[in-house]
Symmetry: C2
Subunit: 112 residues, 2 copies
DNA sequence: AATAATACATAATTTTCTTAGGTATATAAA
DNA sequence: TTTATATACCTAAGAAAATTATGTATTATT
């Protein structure tokens, strides 16, 4: 688990990347997917996640589809057509930022 | 210039890396060095820098040496012996975080 | 029956940064 | 010579983003 300081500012980028790749996901699913993919090193908190999802929806970047699963609701989020562009830009900007930080901190990243 | 959101949480790491490599630097020098090294993509603001330097000093991670240059003062910061360990840990943690983000966002970093 | 997991949400507080200002000296340009 | 720019420190009010702590409710497991 990384110090929360490090993860600051990455939430929107992570959400938009996952939703770009997965067509539709719901909040609870996002937190678990991120935890799984990072081996528990990044754990999104609901207090940060839900307000961010709501904000992205209000900005027209995400759209929602509320589904009933038994007696429980599940709110699926998808990237809107106009949101796709924003998502790509966010990820690209983060990628450039990483390159800058790798240079600045003189790091040797593992290449996948 | 990256969106400020992206840079959030990286200030301490940047400061500690620069001071680890450069023995001693003063605040104004740090902002200019970072701007120079990143081609203007990262510009530290004084309102963020100085309080952080003061906090790191209060924590015993940095020590200061005030020098008179003409009639002006210049406050040099250095990493203390015990601070060296903190600095290394910070940079290492950031390095691991980068690897995690590269995997999570499916990025291909430039290798230096 | 009690606990954990699923699934949503908000509100108070804290952390961190931005914006905007303040002080003062030295240098370059108009 | 006055004005602007650069050097060099600093703080305080406010905004932004996250944490922590709750709250509601259903479903599955022990």
């Amino acid at each position: 688990m990384y110090s929360s300081e490090l993860i600051k500012g990455t939430l929107k980028t992570i959400i938009l990347k996952l939703l770009s790749d997965n067509d539709k996901m719901y909040g609870y699913e996002i937190t678990h997917k991120v935890k799984e993919l990072t081996g528990g090193k990044i754990q999104l908190t609901e207090g940060a996640l839900y307000p961010t999802l709501h904000a992205l929806e209000a900005q027209g970047i995400l759209s929602t589809d509320v589904v009933n699963v038994g007696n429980r609701i599940r709110k699926y989020y998808s990237v809107t057509p106009s949101g796709k562009k924003v998502a790509t830009e966010k990820v690209n900007e983060f990628s450039e930022f990483l390159d800058t930080m790798i240079f600045l901190l003189d790091l040797q990243p593992k290449v996948g």
